[in-house]
């Protein structure tokens, strides 16, 4: 079997992966593997903005990174590690300026500075943006930078397994989709920047590529995952397609109405109203719907997001993408009609357990971006902090990998990679020889139980049901097969391989949620309705045990200067 070799392998072509690659490619032989062309990565879909205390907004002249850090910690319901949050918020202005210098076309204030808008859970308007396509402009800018730097890319290559032995990482097993070939790749250092797991849920804003398989691959290879039970549900997603309606809709002044015409957020967050953090707004919307104050539609019950009072000019200027999505996907022009929305899975606070420099407990293996859990988002991420997280920790991971390699690093063990390639060959042979279980049906079953039983509100019996369902799907997965024996351009085969990892991810989410007997941030239990700092001010760590089931442990939260308080908005 052939084998490729690089100093550094970066898996994932979104913001975190690209930022890490451009930080290392001058000095090392770097290769970036992405299952889609990097410009198709899900970072492209981020709309609202990126937070940094630039103090450009006339209403925010006294904003500081410390205030940004406080808002982030409070937003996280005090589960974020405060040392890491401080690093991220201190780095933020420099990161935004760097992206601007590299060409990012931010929207501007009349004085020519980068424009900043209000966002949920933030005490100051500090979200830098480019209309409502901020992820698109940032990803284009970083991809442009990668082209300029000549970063080597393997586009449409799927990573299907991670080679770890003796607590060290030796490389990956990749699959070249276009040619249908398994390719072992050895590397001195490997970074996963593989994004979130939205597709583990039935209702999600995420792209179809967001299976979370990267997290599952790392977990299966023995890398611990952290705080998996913390799943963000975005308050405002179009009914039917579940396409994201950016928080900027509310940042720019949009209202939420129930079927009695009430701005119901008054009951839940009287001061912040629609700009309370996402966990609170999502729960409020779901409560309104559950208690019969939603609107009925064949596609599901909904709440109204009303932008009409902003006027056509402001909508066209600040939210043109949202308007176009509404017209294209639901036939509604938000200038004239309210938008029908519901909360949907949106973001993974949990993920691969890393320190504030992207390193994991496995030598030579790093992670950054949504697939990683530093943790800077704790139990609930603030809007505008995810783009920031990707670029800051993509950059810091590059520094950390550089330090590791400069210090000698490790020599990757070829044999470990080849052994794993053999396993993958067996796995693929099994799938293409045609078992009778179809993976799309198994996937749907998994996603349905996750949305129904590990959603916005959680209860012990429901989560136990989810765990049973996951176990049943896992059992049926053993009989999975695909329609065609040909391996090239076989998307059904790729989906089948990823499903195994999605099952691992779902299992850790449901198990973490069941274990955590409190309500904190996005984890809201009907049977344990209060936050319990005495017992639960700690991270959940899950590591795959020898028998395949998760061993869980806990780790304290790093607290520097912000003592846990009651969270009121």
């Amino acid at each position: 079997m052939d084998m490729l070799s690089h100093d550094v392998l970066i898996v994932g072509g979104g913001l975190a992966g690209l930022r890490c690659a451009v930080g290392l490619c001058d000095k090392y032989d770097v290769a970036l593997i992405s299952k889609v062309h990097p410009i198709r990565s899900h970072s492209i879909a981020a709309q609202g903005g990126i937070n940094a205390a630039l103090a450009n907004n006339p209403d925010a002249r006294d904003d500081t990174w410390e205030k940004h850090a406080f808002d982030t910690v409070k937003g996280s319901d005090y589960l974020a590690d405060q040392d890491a949050v401080e690093i991220m918020c201190r780095e933020a202005p420099e990161i935004v300026y760097e992206m601007e210098h590299w060409g990012c076309p931010f929207s501007r204030f009349p004085d020519g500075s980068i424009a900043q808008r209000p966002f949920g859970g933030a005490g100051y308007p500090r979200t830098c943006y480019s209309t409502d396509i901020t992820g698109h402009v940032l990803l284009n800018t970083l991809y442009e930078r990668a082209v300029f730097k000549g970063v080597k890319v393997y586009p449409e290559w799927h990573v299907t397994a991670l080679a770890t032995e003796d607590e060290s990482c030796h490389g990956v097993i990749a699959f070249d989709l276009i040619n249908g070939v398994i390719m072992p790749i050895r590397a001195k250092a490997t970074l996963f920047a593989t994004g979130g797991y939205g597709r583990v849920y039935f209702y999600s804003t995420n792209a179809l590529i967001n299976t979370g398989s990267g997290i599952g691959i790392a977990y299966k290879a023995g890398v611990p995952v952290k705080d998996m039970e913390f799943v963000q549900f975005h308050p405002t997603c179009l009914i039917g397609t579940n396409i994201l309606m950016t928080e900027a809709c509310r940042g720019e002044g949009g209202y939420l109405f129930n079927n009695r015409g009430e701005r119901f957020m008054e009951r839940y967050a009287p001061k912040a109203m629609e700009l309370a953090p996402r966990d609170i707004v999502s729960r409020s919307i779901q409560t309104e719907i559950n208690e019969g104050r939603g609107f009925d539609h064949p596609l599901g019950r909904y709440i109204r997001l009303d932008l009409r009072h902003l006027g056509g000019k402001k909508i066209l200027e600040r939210l043109p993408g949202i308007r176009k999505i509404c017209i294209d996907f639901i036939g509604i022009d938000p200038v004239n009609e309210p938008i029908p929305i519901m909360p949907c899975q949106h973001y993974s606070m949990g993920g691969i357990d890393t320190d504030a420099a992207g390193a994991t407990p496995v030598r030579g293996f790093y992670a950054a971006g949504e697939c990683a859990c530093v943790s800077v988002h704790g139990a609930n991420r603030l809007g505008g902090n995810s783009l920031l997280d990707t670029i800051v920790f993509g950059k810091l991971a590059a520094g950390s990998i550089d330090a590791y390699l400069s210090g000698g690093g490790a020599v990757p063990d070829e044999k470990a990679v080849l052994r794993l390639a053999g396993d993958m060959e067996k796995k693929i042979s099994g799938l293409v020889s045609g078992g009778k279980e179809k993976t799309f049906a198994l996937h749907a079953e998994l996603a349905r139980t996750m949305s129904a039983n590990v959603g916005i509100f959680r209860r012990q019996d429901e989560m136990e049901q989810a765990l049973q369902d996951i176990a049943r799907v896992r059992e049926r997965y053993r009989g999975a097969g695909v329609s065609s024996p040909s391996r090239h351009m076989n998307y059904e085969l790729m989906n089948a391989i990823e499903l195994e990892y999605m099952l691992e991810v779902a299992h850790t989410i449901a198990l973490g949620a069941l274990l955590r007997e409190e309500s904190r941030g996005a984890h809201s239990r009907r049977d344990f309705t209060k936050r319990d700092d005495e017992k639960w001010l700690k991270h959940t760590i899950a590591r795959r045990g020898a028998d395949g089931s998760p061993d869980t442990s806990f780790r304290g939260v790093a607290i520097t200067r912000y003592q846990p308080m009651e969270r009121v908005y």
Partner: protein
């Protein structure tokens, strides 16, 4: 109560690894509820009827640019096209023109990216960066707005009649990208950089039939960029003839 209508999807099948089998349409009968997009139906066909069907997709919301194809003769993104929008019960799907088919609806975009890379698609700076942002007025930012919206889906590249007869022509998306940087008040690329497109493979190759504008799912007008670049070249030449100083 939602009722489903019966549709026939006729999809062009081809596998470059089996060149001996010529491209042929395959028909799929499927019931579709109103409001479903072409992409949603494609996913159902692959899941429920034919796992061998190949097409690209990701975001489902017209921002990632993966699923450009020809839908009933029109180039568009499958994810933003409503099945019901044609008023017919047959939907014909073909891969994007002007590129080689890899399999079914997936084409080889290598030539598209090659042209993109030719225009130095990044901000070029000569001056040292300031500590804070490089100032840019709202008006200056507005000038590049439509070109910034490009999602590099290659709908325009597939629609361009010039590329179909001259594969060396750079095409609408690459030229729009160049104009996006040329018009950016922060860009400091040498004026003679435009000489690289001052030929029939560049701005003078365009037939001005505006098919790229028609095909763009994001309301970008690549022809505006070509006109803009042509004007800049003519202006530069006039300055040269008048003996004015060149940068």
């Amino acid at each position: 109560m939602i009722t489903a209508d019966a549709y026939t999807f006729r999809i062009l099948r081809f596998d470059a690894k089996r060149p001996e089998e010529p491209p042929a349409f395959q028909a799929y009968r499927i019931k579709v509820i109103p409001g479903l997009t072409v992409l949603a139906v494609l996913n159902r066909i692959r899941d429920e009827i034919d796992g061998t069907l190949s097409f690209r997709s990701s975001c489902r919301s017209a921002v990632c640019g993966s699923c450009a194809m020809v839908i009933n003769g029109r180039i568009d993104l499958a994810c933003r096209t409503q099945v019901a929008s044609f008023g017919t019960s047959t939907i014909i799907l073909e891969p994007l023109p002007n590129m080689e088919i890899i399999k079914d609806l997936v084409v080889d975009m290598t030539p598209f990216w090659k042209m993109y890379e030719k225009v130095r698609p990044h901000l070029v700076r000569e001056s040292a960066d300031p500590v804070r942002e490089i100032r840019q007025s709202e008006k200056e930012r507005g000038r590049i707005d439509q070109f910034v919206n490009c999602i590099l889906c290659a709908c325009c590249y597939g629609a361009c009649p010039v590329i179909s007869r001259d594969p060396e022509y750079m095409g609408p998306a690459a030229l729009a990208k160049l104009e996006r940087f040329t018009l950016d008040s922060r860009d400091e690329r040498p004026e003679n950089f435009l000489d690289t497109v001052n030929n029939e493979k560049g701005v003078w190759g365009c037939d001005m039939v505006l098919r790229c504008i028609d095909a763009c799912p994001k309301d970008v007008r690549p022809t505006d960029s070509i006109v803009g670049l042509r004007k800049a070249l003519v202006k530069k030449k006039a300055k040269g003839l008048l003996g004015m100083k060149k940068r």
